[in-house]
């Protein structure tokens, strides 16, 4: 069983006890514990079930690489699944539950999958669940979804807040072990602005656990001194609990700071995402120990040797009372010796190497530990915890068991791999190190910056070396090199001295024993989190998945949330071995950010709820809100859809607004309309190119409706252009289209016709614009007084300006409803007062505000198109019967050449018509016109679609606009439209102008 040792761990405070629960069971830990160490101290060996076979799983590692011990943390709006116990600092009241089991952790029905393991091999789903098709949807998929998967998705809105930080530094150092500290010191002393980040709460990395001296003093003492020196440097920032999450182009670096995961009571954001731009990045990310592939290496109690050492030294926790050490290198012996020193029994050190270790083996034997070189674990015995190991010869198939050794924990060491993730994120290349059997960064092929020079430097064991002396020398050089590359002069001080590495070389062991039989191989786990075994990778190789990327996807090796930190090297070594290839030839899969999963909340930062994106408001917005407007989003604007009164439904309110506007007078807040000033000697010439129709012939004082296409010929925007004077035009665009249209103009002005003397300015928000619409509109304006708005003084499609009721007004006589209509622009600051004045002046005429839906219905009754309804980026003006707005005189305009292409110029295009259902009903939006026959996808043959559809209170029936093949030539014919319920409805093709075909009402 796992228990606390009598000697306290260096990171825990045994005087402070911390209460927490696991699966509802009350437990006690110490201040300074991680959830993992506290669980182990409570003898909770089993912490979860595996992904596929639901096998019992325990803690394997002591850091970010942990694949198994993932739990649900918290509840309600702070619930979060898949949290690693090894990186979760314990706090009072922490509540954790295990994942992936039903009904309970101890008794899990899903474990039956393990009995069928022979059939659930790699690619099982692909092979098995293809036929029959219907079973997939109703049987296979629901079953797989129920039984597979890790934690549950949170149901509540995240109750925490998050934020982003921006930082610009000369040198960013990732990793606060002795290498990171030394690199930061070297760069800081050179005067560089340094940011040092450490993902855990503690600095020093493995050195205090592994022991050794630096500059003649204990590592721990040196670390405290280094931190104190960094603290004194004003140019150095040091952050703990901050992970370097990803390295991106041109020195961009994401730092993930867990501000209050360890102390939820703090009034602070939970996570902070640092968006860092660094001239140089030093990755001092250390190395991770590899597991060994032997049968039963996933049984709770089998753990990395370094983790066993960490739990003992850092947290005072003995993972087992009898811990067998199995290793292929000297470092495993350190765990055995440390355990022995702390009073934990080590029955045997199993060393796969025939020669065994050198000096350390002698030390171990002297300490009374049995050492068995050239041996292997044939199989771990036990189910929910380790009960013993079967010893066999390393060379062999594991059939001949020499002896069964009783134990309750196994510490395994398969050698060390540098953490190369951050180096690789932005293109750093790797080389294979034959001596240590690992991939390490190739310093000659570093990620390059905008100047073509390297911007990532590795430091310490992240570079490859594992001895303390080499690590410090490498880190010192890295810090100095980074500072120099960032433009500083590094001091010529020597690197701190550390113990040299004096070890017998490791020997790669990819499978234990060397020629294990199949029954053993299918119990050797490579990827604990995704349940991938040695036999699965071998099967993939046999079935032709020779590329490591293919094998990864076929077996899911390395695809879990831990991204294969423990499994990748072992997995590709097995693949290489099966293929008879060398490991460097097989290569690695791609390392992608983030290094470990980061919260979605941190990515969003503060951008949520009302500040998720900017909301644009008109000067009259508050009136709309105060008067109960139902709002709808239009681009970044929020516009009133309708203004319901009393118990009216939205539909009733819209109909009332339409009828009132058509009989009395209505008021529309049109401030969202885009307004762009185009000014200069060449403004008219420029607009002739921008619009399909002729704008240069427009006289000052007049307005003209214009169409704007892109170079492909497709309609992109429309609006009324007013000529203010000889050199100045005011261009109106669709609501929400101003920025895009303005950018479009600027692009052509700056990059194609840069010789033209034209300025443009988007003045959308400078003006409030209000449409006064209806037969009594003129009376309302006359009541305000100050300007002559009579039929003759201000004709249809003219504009004028002056003082209207004391307001600085520019009045456009334009109509989007078919009624007598004035659109009046006043400075934004006068907008609300002007709105109020219009409402007062119109009261006696029954004035009512109307919303966007009323606007839409009225324009449809008139057959006016709406950008985004009748157009979708594939529609040309000719499709919409707008040939009259396309100049034939102009040599050129944007889109003219595009529209001449045969497929656009033909007669078979779907073209605009009006549609009336024979039963008067409203056609479904987007409904397709269908005819006999089917297309190549098995769908009904389609000859058109509905683009706008409304109930018209004016006509008392449904009306629609649509694009129909040969439509204008088929007036009066009936077409069948498919409805969403599978039935169809017949509609007659009619002229799209239903209301006031001659246009008399708008011109009175």
């Amino acid at each position: 069983m796992s228990t606390r040792l009598s000697k306290a761990g260096r990171l825990v405070d045994t005087s402070k006890s911390v209460a927490f629960t696991f699966n509802g069971k009350k437990m006690q830990g110490h201040a300074g514990d991680t959830l993992a160490s506290a669980l182990l101290a409570n003898d909770q060996m089993m912490v979860g079930r595996s992904f596929k076979y639901h096998r019992p799983r325990g803690i394997v590692a002591s850091g970010a690489e942990e694949p198994n011990a993932l739990v649900n943390l918290g509840s309600g709006n702070t619930f979060e699944p898949n949290q690693r116990t090894t990186t979760t600092e314990l706090f009072d009241g922490l509540s954790a539950t295990s994942q992936n089991h039903w009904p309970s952790l101890d008794f899990d029905i899903g474990a039956v999958n393990g009995l069928f393991a022979n059939y659930l091999t790699a690619g099982f789903y692909y092979k098995m669940f293809i036929h029959p098709r219907p079973l997939w949807k109703y049987v296979y998929e629901p079953f797989i979804r129920q039984s597979a998967g890790l934690g549950k998705a949170p149901k509540d809105t995240d109750g925490d807040r998050y934020e982003h930080f921006y930082a610009y530094v000369d040198v960013a150092v990732i990793g606060g072990g002795v290498a990171g500290l030394q690199a930061a010191l070297a760069a800081g002393e050179a005067g560089a602005k340094v940011l040092l980040m450490e993902q855990t709460a503690h600095f020093g990395g493995r050195a205090p656990v592994d022991g050794g001296t630096i500059d003649g003093i204990e590592a721990e003492t040196w670390i405290a001194g280094a931190l104190a020196r960094l603290d004194e440097m004003p140019n150095v920032t040091v952050r703990r609990r901050m992970m370097g999450a990803g390295v991106y182009d041109h020195g961009y670096l994401l730092g993930y700071e867990r501000v209050k995961d360890h102390a939820p009571e703090l009034d602070a954001p939970r996570h902070r995402l640092w968006r860092i731009r660094a001239k140089q990045i030093v990755t001092a990310t250390g190395a991770i120990e590899r597991p060994i592939s032997f049968a039963g290496n996933d049984i709770p109690g089998v753990m990395l040797a370094s983790a066993v050492r960490d739990y003992a030294v850092n947290y005072g926790v003995a993972v087992g009372q009898k811990t067998v050490v199995v290793t292929n290198n000297d470092d495993g012996y350190r765990t055995a010796l440390k355990l022995k020193e702390l009073g934990v029994e080590v029955p045997v050190i199993i060393d796969a190497r025939e020669e065994g270790a050198g000096a350390l083996a002698d030390v171990a034997r002297k300490a009374g530990i049995r050492v068995e070189p050239g041996k292997a674990i044939a199989k771990v015995k036990g189910g929910k915890r380790v009960e013993g190991v079967e010893l066999c010869r390393m060379q062999g198939n594991g059939g001949a068991v020499i002896e069964t050794i009783k134990c309750d924990a196994v510490a395994m060491s398969g050698g060390w791999s540098p953490v190369v993730h951050l180096w690789s994120h932005c293109g750093g290349k790797l080389i294979w190190d034959e001596v240590e059997s690992h991939f390490k960064p190739d310093a000659d092929r570093a990620p390059t910056n905008q100047d073509g020079k390297p911007f990532v430097i590795t430091a310490g064991s992240a570079s490859g070396p594992l001895g303390l002396g080499e690590v410090l020398a490498d880190a010192d050089a890295a810090g100095k090199k980074a500072a120099e590359a960032a433009g500083f002069t590094a001091a010529s001080t020597p690197a701190p001295s550390g113990d040299a590495r004096d070890e017998t070389p490791m020997q790669p062991v990819w499978m234990m024993p060397s020629d294990a039989v199949y029954n053993l191989r299918m119990k050797m786990w490579l990827d604990y989190q995704n349940d991938v075994k040695v036999s699965d990778v071998q099967l993939a190789a046999r079935e032709g998945y020779e590329s490591v990327e293919h094998t990864k996807r076929y077996t899911t090796l390395g695809m879990a949330t831990d991204q294969g930190k423990l499994s990748n090297i072992n997995g590709l070594a097995i693949l290489a071995d099966t293929l008879g290839a060398e490991i460097p030839q097989v290569g690695t899969t791609t390392f992608r950010p983030p290094y470990t999963p980061i919260s979605m909340g941190s990515i969003g930062g503060a951008a949520r709820d009302e500040i998720f994106q900017p909301i644009r408001q008109t000067p009259i917005q508050q009136w709309h809100i105060d008067n109960g407007a139902y709002m709808e989003p239009v681009g970044h604007w929020r516009r009133p859809y309708t203004f319901p009164r009393g118990s009216e439904t939205h539909e009733q309110a819209v109909n009332r607004e339409i009828t009132n506007t058509r009989t009395n007078v209505g008021l529309l807040d049109a401030s969202t309309l885009g307004k762009i000033i185009v000014k200069g000697p060449d403004a008219a010439k420029f607009l002739d190119l921008m619009y399909t129709n002729m704008m240069s012939t427009l006289k000052p004082g007049k307005c003209r409706y214009g169409l704007m296409c892109n170079e492909n010929g497709f309609l992109m925007d429309d609006g009324v252009v007013a000529r203010l004077d000889e050199e100045t035009f005011l261009v109106h665009t669709t609501s929400g289209g101003a920025a895009h249209t303005h950018a479009h103009m600027e692009e052509w002005l700056q990059t194609e016709w840069w010789d033209m003397k034209v300025y443009t300015a988007d003045v959308t928000e400078q003006y409030a614009q209000i449409a006064v619409v209806g037969p009594k509109a003129r009376k309302v304006l006359e009541k305000l007084g100050g300007m002559d708005v009579s039929k003759d003084a201000l004709k249809f499609m003219e504009w004028t300006q002056g003082k209207l009721g004391g307001f600085d007004a520019r009045i456009f006589r334009i109509s989007f409803s078919g009624e007598l209509s004035y659109e009046i622009a006043v400075p934004a600051s006068q907008g609300r007062a002007f709105w109020d004045a219009l409402l007062a002046a119109g009261e006696e005429h029954g004035i009512m505000p109307y919303g966007t839906e009323c606007l839409h219905v009225m324009r449809a009754e008139k057959g006016f198109i709406m950008i985004g309804d009748e157009t979708d980026g594939t529609v040309i003006p000719q499709d919409l019967g707008l040939n009259w707005a396309i100049s034939k005189k102009k040599e050129d305009f944007i889109g003219k050449r595009g529209q001449q292409r045969t497929f656009l110029a033909g007669e078979d295009r779907w073209r605009l018509v009006g549609l009336e259902t024979v039963d008067g009903s409203v056609l479904p939006d987007g409904a397709y016109a269908v005819v006999h026959g089917h297309n190549e996808n098995g769908q009904r043959t389609m000859i058109g679609r509905v683009t706008s559809t409304y109930y018209s209170p004016t006509l008392g029936r449904g009306i629609a606009m649509g694009l129909v093949k040969h439509g204008p030539e088929r007036m009066g014919e009936l077409v069948e439209f498919a409805k969403t319920d599978g039935s169809t409805v017949m509609a007659k093709i009619v002229d799209p102008v239903w209301y006031d075909k001659e246009g008399e009402k708008q011109d009175v």
């Binding site: 020195g251 073509g452 950018a743 692009e747 700056q750 990059t751 595009g898």
Partner: protein, 109 residues
């Protein structure tokens, strides 16, 4: 997340400040052009593994369009320059030729 220096306002602009505008130095073919020329202008694009000439706009900045010569493999930026030209500046081409022997992009070598 590239950084490019805007040649107009001099700012070292983050990619979030910029909007990409595709290939640079396209010759516009308008009315009267052949189908082949129009197709080339609208749709045919270089896809180099190496130095590329691109259009960028300092959209969330000074609003100006500019050109950049950038390696699509190493992300090295050889220079940024005005959008009011139909060919890359001679000194920039010299710099690229020196750094990348055998460099070829459309008609430029």
């Amino acid at each position: 997340m590239l950084t490019l220096q805007c040649p107009y306002c001099g700012v070292m602009a983050e990619e979030t400040e910029l909007s990409a505008g595709g290939e640079a130095h396209l010759k516009r073919f308008g009315p009267g052009s052949t189908d082949a020329d129009f197709e080339t202008y609208m749709f045919m694009r270089e896809n180099p593994k190496g130095v590329h000439f691109e259009r960028w706009r300092h959209a969330n900045g000074c609003g100006k369009w500019f050109h950049a010569a950038r390696c699509t493999v190493t992300l090295e930026v050889f220079g940024t320059y005005t959008a009011q030209t139909s060919v890359p500046p001679a000194d920039l081409l010299d710099k690229i030729r020196a750094a990348r022997p055998g460099f070829k992009w459309r008609e430029f070598e």
